[in-house]
């Protein structure tokens, strides 16, 4: 992309709230950003180390609840609660990473689902802390000094910065010796070990970073919707995340973001036309079709098509 070519989208992104008109579209973009971070985090595990986690909703939820509880009950500032939420989910990721040491493939998937299930049940039943199914309303919006970041147009920038951070972290990791180690684990673990790649260290690292990122997304979500309930653990969130990564292109950096945009905008666009169930039904069919016809995802397919067109 030429410099001018890169400049325009950046300018558009920076000035988005000014030209995007309705707050509804802004809402969609913000949600796309939050899901983009989630998709990037899942991609780190799935696309790079090759482990499928279907429990990422757990990290998302832990981040959301931690952040919400700290600001609601202990009246901490958002800027303190966010890192704590990241740390809490990072810790959970560490746990899963250590579990992953013994398990691969389907068994790992099952453990992640079970983990998410247990966390979900805890959030529903631990009424004293989490208020159970009623959830936690009134989560305060972040404030920067005297200015509240409550307004959508302002929150947009917060999410934009977060997406940038997440993207940069992923890109730096992937392009480094660490990223190579991740991929080595996915491609041929025994061979990787034979040249000195410490499986434990790198799997745990991937899990921690991935979970921490998801926790960040959770905190942003909690302070945006200002309401947290066990619904964050709904499997449909996990499913959506997986589709975003798989459809967008796992193992690429742009893929999850593209996937997030498409699958946040698409439901909104379809909402006027059909009901939510038809949409999820379509997702299911789409997932099957993707596996058959576009297994590497949209971004790699586009790249391949471009390469084919310009030899």
């Amino acid at each position: 992309m030429t410099r001018a070519g890169r400049f325009v989208p950046v300018l558009l992104a920076l000035t988005l709230p000014l030209w995007l008109g309705s707050p509804y579209f802004l809402h969609v973009v913000i949600m796309a950003g939050i899901f983009g971070i989630l998709a990037l985090s899942l991609n780190l595990l799935l696309g790079y180390t090759g482990q499928l986690s279907l429990g990422h909703a757990a990290f998302f939820g832990i981040g959301a609840y931690t952040s919400a509880l700290l600001t609601l009950r202990l009246e901490w500032s958002f800027w303190l609660a966010l890192p704590c939420a990241v740390a809490a989910s990072g810790l959970a990721g560490w746990l899963i990473g250590r579990l992953a040491l013994k398990l691969r493939g389907a068994y790992f998937v099952l453990v992640t689902i079970s983990f998410a299930g247990v966390i979900a049940l805890v959030s529903v039943n631990w009424m004293d802390v989490t208020n159970g199914p009623l959830g936690l309303p009134g989560v305060p919006a972040p404030a920067l000094g005297p200015w509240s970041l409550r307004a959508k147009s302002v929150y947009y920038y917060l999410v934009l910065v977060a997406v940038l951070i997440a993207y940069l972290v992923c890109r730096r990791l992937v392009a480094s010796r660490i990223g190579r180690a991740f991929v080595a684990l996915r491609e041929n673990e025994a061979l990787a070990e034979s040249v000195g790649v410490d499986v434990t260290h790198y799997l745990v690292l991937a899990a921690v970073v991935s979970a921490a990122m998801a926790g960040m997304a959770g905190s942003l979500y909690a302070h945006y919707t200002r309401f947290v309930s066990p619904e964050v653990f709904l499997f449909s969130y996990t499913v959506t995340m997986v589709i975003m990564v798989v459809a967008g292109g796992k193992g690429t950096l742009a893929g999850p973001l593209v996937g997030a945009l498409i699958f946040t905008a698409l439901p909104e666009a379809l909402r006027a036309v059909t009901s939510w169930q038809w949409q999820m039904l379509a997702y299911g069919v789409l997932l099957v079709l993707l596996v058959f016809f576009l297994p590497r995802g949209i971004v790699p397919a586009l790249a391949a098509w471009r390469a084919w067109k310009a030899p």
Binding site: V169, R177, R180, A190, E193, D198, L205
Partner: protein, 262 residues
Amino acid sequence: MARVESALTLSVRDLAVRFGGVTALAGVSFDVHPGTITSVIGPNGAGKTTAFNAITGYLRPTRGRIEYVGVPLTGLRPSAIAARGIVRTFQRTSVFPSLSVADNVMIGLHLRGSAGVLDVLLGRRRRAAEESRLAHDADGIIEFVGLGHRRGEVASELPYGEQRLVELAVALAARPRLLLLDEPGAGMTTAEKAAVGRLIRRIRDQSTTVLLVEHDMRMVMGISDTVIVMNHGRVIAEGAPASIQAHPDVIRAYLGSAGDRD
């Protein structure tokens, strides 16, 4: 025959491996001396690859001691053993399939880099310098094994013989002091085997000790300094190629088990 060596490269004592009711190794002892090419031969099922797996940490031995330059290896994970300078290849072609040859070798260079998480996330200049150094090293190794013209190709799409060269390049990238090759000539044409043999000698000349398992007798006798013969999980002979070829136990082992050879 007692040999007093101040720096024995690899010392294996009474190595035994059992799974369930099967004894794969029944107490194997041998030494690998630095700067040599040692070959391990024997009929199928003699326990050769099992020994490799035990030495390099892929299998936990039931009994026995493995020491490298005086430091015990038993119980260490493969990656820790690699960090001590012992690298192995695998019996069946083992590459990183969807990556290019260059990327394959870059992974082999893993231990030669030092960038940790913080370095990666924050630092820029030092990381960039290290990355270019590693890329340069990778090119050197790729040229050494003769795959310069395949640098950017995807490993799994290469012909069999070249894939095995990729495997060798990856192992060499880890700068082993002791290189264990598991059937480096398997499935290769005579010409390819000769080329591999020459490569192995060049590797030895660069001060890397080589221990290999192989079935091709001509290749083995042609390049080895020492030959170790195994059968039924035991060492039955050890010595220079000429003496092994004339050894009665060895001849019996091969003739006796002619029925189940490959």
